[in-house]
Subunit: 166 residues, 2 copies
DNA sequence: GGTATATTGATACAGTATATCATGTCAAAC
DNA sequence: GTTTGACATGATATACTGTATCAATATACC
């Protein structure tokens, strides 16, 4: 189904990891999912994903736009937002509401399930976890509130191991 | 220290609750905290808090602005943002990043600690919980990542009990 | 090829938030 | 009681984030 490549990164990407294969995995998964869903992975959509996959940082839509240097003319903002919307729906990127920023998902299991986003306030690197404890706790809390859970968003800002070393 | 009023609302405000006393509690806590910290609870700051405390809904900054009907002239956006910044720092309101909206905190224990925000996508009512399970899980996950936790933001969108009944 | 559908281009605009500098208010110090 | 300094607000402009609309183009399917 999905390309049989080793899991691309640890939950929090180490500075030493092999990012070339990490990046490839992200793009191949997108290709694979598009084929599965019979939707088109156009050059523009690919370019936006490539820009995000180039790092493990969260970028704003206009940051992405600046990286899209067409020779003739830069595409309008809506082009980026359309690509982002497509990639979000495909499940290969995530949005950090707290920063109005987007980043490429690097976790094979992230189709569904509750995710925690970890972002370093110094270097901007993003990590992802899927705590089973939290995944169990949310429905339990919801039950006591009589609340029907739709979407869950959890973002933890702080300092990553690499930056704490400095 | 804080006014000795009964806890204002349940984690998720019932439609039947006594909102007059709930609202009073929010404003008195703000007064009390301002006295403690020796900062000024000016009319403008009070007005913004009153607007938020009027409901358990999350309002955008410009929604708040519309409610500030001065006779002469409406204050500029920055006035609202300045008041919101002040109230956030005081700890009497919260910001929902996922909606660019703000709401009055109704939980006595919310000085520090990890909070879950629950927002109904139909009626917009906001609830708050403080799960000890999640409060314990976050540092545990952080330790495995070598991550130093700063701020945590957790938002759950769905449907509240009242709206599910409809 | 011809038609329906999806995608992109182009333009405008809405919504959210901040920067900057001037003016006003308050309270303590003199 | 006036000076003084810190804090708060007013006024204006602008930056940042995201969407609406409609025309043009590309792709898929018959
Ligand atoms: Zn990588
Ligand atoms: Zn870092
Ligand atoms: Zn209430
Ligand atoms: Zn509701």
């Amino acid at each position: 189904m999905h390309p049989t490549v080793a899991e691309p990164t640890a939950p929090f990407p180490a500075s030493t990891h092999d990012h070339a294969s990490c990046r490839d995995w992200i793009l191949r998964r997108a290709e694979s999912l598009c084929a599965e869903k019979k939707v088109r992975f156009t050059p523009q959509r690919r370019e936006v994903l490539e820009i995000l996959a180039a790092s493990h940082r969260a970028l704003g839509a206009y940051d992405i736009l600046e990286h899209m240097h067409r020779v003739e003319r830069r595409p309008p903002p809506a082009a980026v937002y359309r690509a982002l919307e497509f990639l979000l729906a495909l499940g290969v990127i995530h949005r950090m509401a707290g920063r109005n920023a987007y980043f490429a998902c690097t976790r094979p299991e992230h189709g569904r399930g509750e995710i925690q986003f970890w972002i370093c306030r110094r270097c901007g690197v993003v990590g992802e976890t899927e705590s089973v404890v939290i995944a169990g706790e949310v429905p339990r809390l919801a039950a006591t509130l009589g609340f029907q859970v739709g979407a869950v968003n959890m973002e933890i800002e702080g300092e990553c191991q690499a930056c704490r070393g400095c």
